[in-house]
């Protein structure tokens, strides 16, 4: 077999997309689906990439280094980061839609044509395009499409499709490169999907184990380098999009009940497919300051094609530095922040009334760049209103350049899913211009939640607490199960190879 292409750069300064994480890395590998002569195979197009990941793990072990996979660099936390060896997986973008009958386990009850095999580097953008051409769609995704699919579900990313769950909840199987560069196909024993023939084709060992699967799903690379995932797409649908401004007092009754009857929505009392409330923390409660973005799922019909042009357009955008400047100004003149937040919300949440689009059109590219921070809380539904009140109380006492976006997600079975609260997790995302003040505001919010006895988890891909006790409280026996699954899958040396500073600070590295 030819050798895979292995390329890396030494002593690289890694900066994430949101520019809040900056680390000097000993080696940054690029993993491509190329052989060492840079050629691409015409069949088994994933093979060189898989072999490259295997070889990189062996390099790391031989050198006594840690290794971590890097996707879209979207995470605002250090989930993907190590100072040793990082592997950029974005070039690994092979996708195969629909499994052949011989590759599907006879016990699988779903439609094999909806099963999608995707290599780890495929972005949500690429998947949306491929699936739309096939009359399919992702059941849900995050708000924008720049993440890799595998990176997104590895931290528990979700949308606001409240009955669907998070992205990891429609993943059916995982192909992971572990210790020694050996690879495994992992899927639940209770829901087998692939056949032995499939595993022979990939040249991998089959592991059917519910606990291992649920541990691996949201593990941000802590069990090895994920090479690929198999997920269940759905027939394509349309989203009918609405944005309406309300007062906080009017939406408040819905926060812990999901009773939207007081909002006079077009489809009446039923909870929309996508339901999200974006709050201006500084607006008066009886005045406009809550923007409800809701979408109904509608049957698909072909939409008029968007006009295309070969013209060159020059667009003036806010500079990459604007958010840093806003953050810096906010640190010295916090009285300006409510004004800035109000301006932002009024620009970004213009009323919308029934615009139809595919999921890809609804959740497109993020065009604003710059220094952003964010933390995202996950609280049980019954505690949602109290948690929002905690955020508003802190923000009005200590203004910061951010807002609050409230969504609801069905509980996840993944052991470290921050959306594990039954039956629904209320997620409260707090994006802000990057600044020390915003980070201090997050500390205050976490303290206020604890003072109010509101149980909460935190999104692994956003700003986290540096407190192992918090993770123990947040996950309890799920944490024990995750640690046990990791100890069973990896030796102590393997656990070290696939650990990083974040795991150590969270008390998850042992």
């Amino acid at each position: 077999m030819p050798e895979p292409l292995i390329v890396f750069e030494s002593n690289v300064r890694f900066v994430n997309w949101h520019r809040n994480v900056q680390v000097e890395v000993a080696r940054l590998y690029d993993a491509w689906n190329r052989w060492s002569d840079r050629s691409r195979p015409t069949t088994r197009r994933w093979e060189p990439g898989l072999r490259a990941l295997s070889r990189i793990v062996q390099h790391a072990e031989a050198d006594g280094k840690r290794v971590r996979a890097l996707g879209g660099a979207w995470s605002l936390s250090e989930a993907a980061v190590t100072r040793d060896y990082m592997v950029n997986t974005k070039p690994l973008n092979y996708v195969d839609v629909g499994l052949k009958p011989e590759n599907v386990d006879p016990a699988y009850a779903g439609n094999p044509e909806y099963l999608v095999f995707t290599q780890c580097g495929t972005s949500v953008l690429e998947l949306n395009r491929i699936l739309e051409r096939r009359g399919l769609a992702l059941p849900t995704s995050g708000a924008s499409n720049g993440q890799t699919f595998c990176g997104a579900f590895s931290t528990g990313t979700h949308g606001a499709a409240n009955m669907v769950g998070s992205m990891q909840d429609y993943v059916a199987g995982l192909h992971v490169v572990g210790e020694g560069g050996r690879d495994y196909w992992v899927e639940p024993a209770s829901r087998p999907v692939v056949s032995r023939k499939f595993c022979e084709t990939l040249g991998t060992e089959l592991r059917r184990d519910d606990r291992l699967f649920n541990a691996l799903l949201v593990s941000f690379g802590s069990f090895g380098l994920i090479h690929a995932a198999l997920f269940m797409a759905v027939p394509i649908y349309l989203l009918e999009r609405h944005v309406r401004p309300y007062s906080y007092d009017r939406v408040r009754p819905s926060l812990s009940t999901l009773d939207v009857s007081g909002l006079d929505l077009p489809d009446g009392r039923g909870l929309p497919f996508h339901y999200e409330v974006v709050l201006n923390p500084y607006a008066r409660r009886d005045r406009q300051g809550a923007y409800v973005r809701f979408m109904y799922q509608r049957p698909y019909s072909a939409l008029p094609a968007a006009p295309t042009t070969t013209d060159t357009r020059v667009i003036m955008r806010p500079s990459d530095d604007v958010l840093s400047v806003i953050g810096a100004i906010g640190d010295v003149a916090p009285a300006l922040l409510p004004y800035a937040v109000e301006e932002l919300l009024e620009r970004e949440f213009e009323p919308q009334d029934g615009e139809l689009g595919t999921p890809a059109q609804a959740f497109g590219s993020t065009t604003l760049r710059g220094s952003v921070v964010s933390t995202e809380l996950g609280v049980p539904l019954l505690h949602a209103e109290n948690a929002v009140e905690a955020v508003l109380a802190v923000a009005n006492d200590f203004p910061f350049a951010g807002l609050a976006a409230v969504r609801y997600v069905r509980a996840s079975a993944a052991l470290l899913a921050f959306t594990h609260h039954e039956p629904f997790t209320c997620t409260i995302e707090l994006p802000a211009a990057g600044s020390q003040r915003a980070l201090e505001a997050y500390d205050r919010i976490w303290n206020e939640l604890e003072r109010r006895n509101v149980p909460y988890t935190l999104h692994w891909g956003q700003i986290l607490k540096n407190d192992p006790a918090h993770f123990r409280r947040a996950y309890g026996t799920r944490l024990d199960a995750w640690l046990a699954a990791r100890r069973a899958f990896l030796t102590p040396a393997g656990r070290r190879t696939f650990s990083n500073d974040l795991l150590e600070r969270a008390g998850l590295a042992s």
């Binding site: 390329v7 690289v12 890694f14 940054l28 690029d30 491509w32 197009r45 950029n88 974005k90 070039p91 973008n93 092979y94 996708v95 195969d96 839609v97 629909g98 499994l99 052949k100 095999f117 580097g121 953008l125 690429e126 395009r129 491929i130 051409r133 924008s144 499939f198 084709t201 923390p281 500084y282 607006a283 008066r284 005045r287 406009q288 300051g289 667009i315 003036m316 955008r317 806010p318 500079s319 990459d320 530095d321 400047v325 806003i326 810096a328 100004i329 003149a333 009285a335 300006l336 409510p338 004004y339 800035a340 009024e346 970004e348 590219s365 993020t366 065009t367 604003l368 964010s374 009005n396």
Partner: protein
């Protein structure tokens, strides 16, 4: 959170904000509305000026819409010399023959001063690029082997 504003949309919204100014909601605290306070009005003017003055770099970006990136950004500072007679060219070998998905050209105060001081003998700029991904016949790297 999706935060993108087209220039033409921004102009439309500036006009709408001017019409809404007389009925803008008040802040949640007991403080008076921001627009009625002289000191805060001055601070707003200062904010606008600082937004123009504080950013350290001028950037221009070539970014085909909806273009996935294969690599992290890589950059080189290049030194065109002698009023353009010597022209640097970056051979981006990390792109595997795929071309680039995005290019950002930037300069900063120091580069501008250097250009002035040398009377244009050199005029450095920073060039940052990301490589494009492998594609298949349909556009994306899609197969039908499994």
């Amino acid at each position: 959170m999706q935060l993108g504003v087209e220039a033409e949309e921004y102009e439309l919204q500036r006009g709408r904000r001017a019409r809404r100014a007389s009925s803008a909601p008040h802040a949640a605290t007991a403080a008076p509305p921001l627009q009625s306070t002289g000191v805060l009005g001055s601070l707003k003017v200062l904010l606008v000026w600082l937004l123009f003055l504080l950013p350290g770099c001028y950037r221009a970006r070539l970014a085909p819409p909806e273009m996935p990136h294969a690599t992290q950004p890589k950059s080189e500072t290049v030194w065109p010399m002698f009023w353009g007679l010597a022209q640097p060219e970056i051979a981006a070998g990390n792109c595997m023959g795929n071309g680039v998905s995005e290019v950002t050209v930037s300069t900063n105060f120091g580069f501008v001063m250097l250009t002035l001081v040398t009377l244009g003998i050199t005029s450095p700029v920073n060039v940052e690029w990301r490589c494009a991904k492998d594609q298949g016949p349909s556009g994306e790297n899609e197969g039908d082997e499994l």
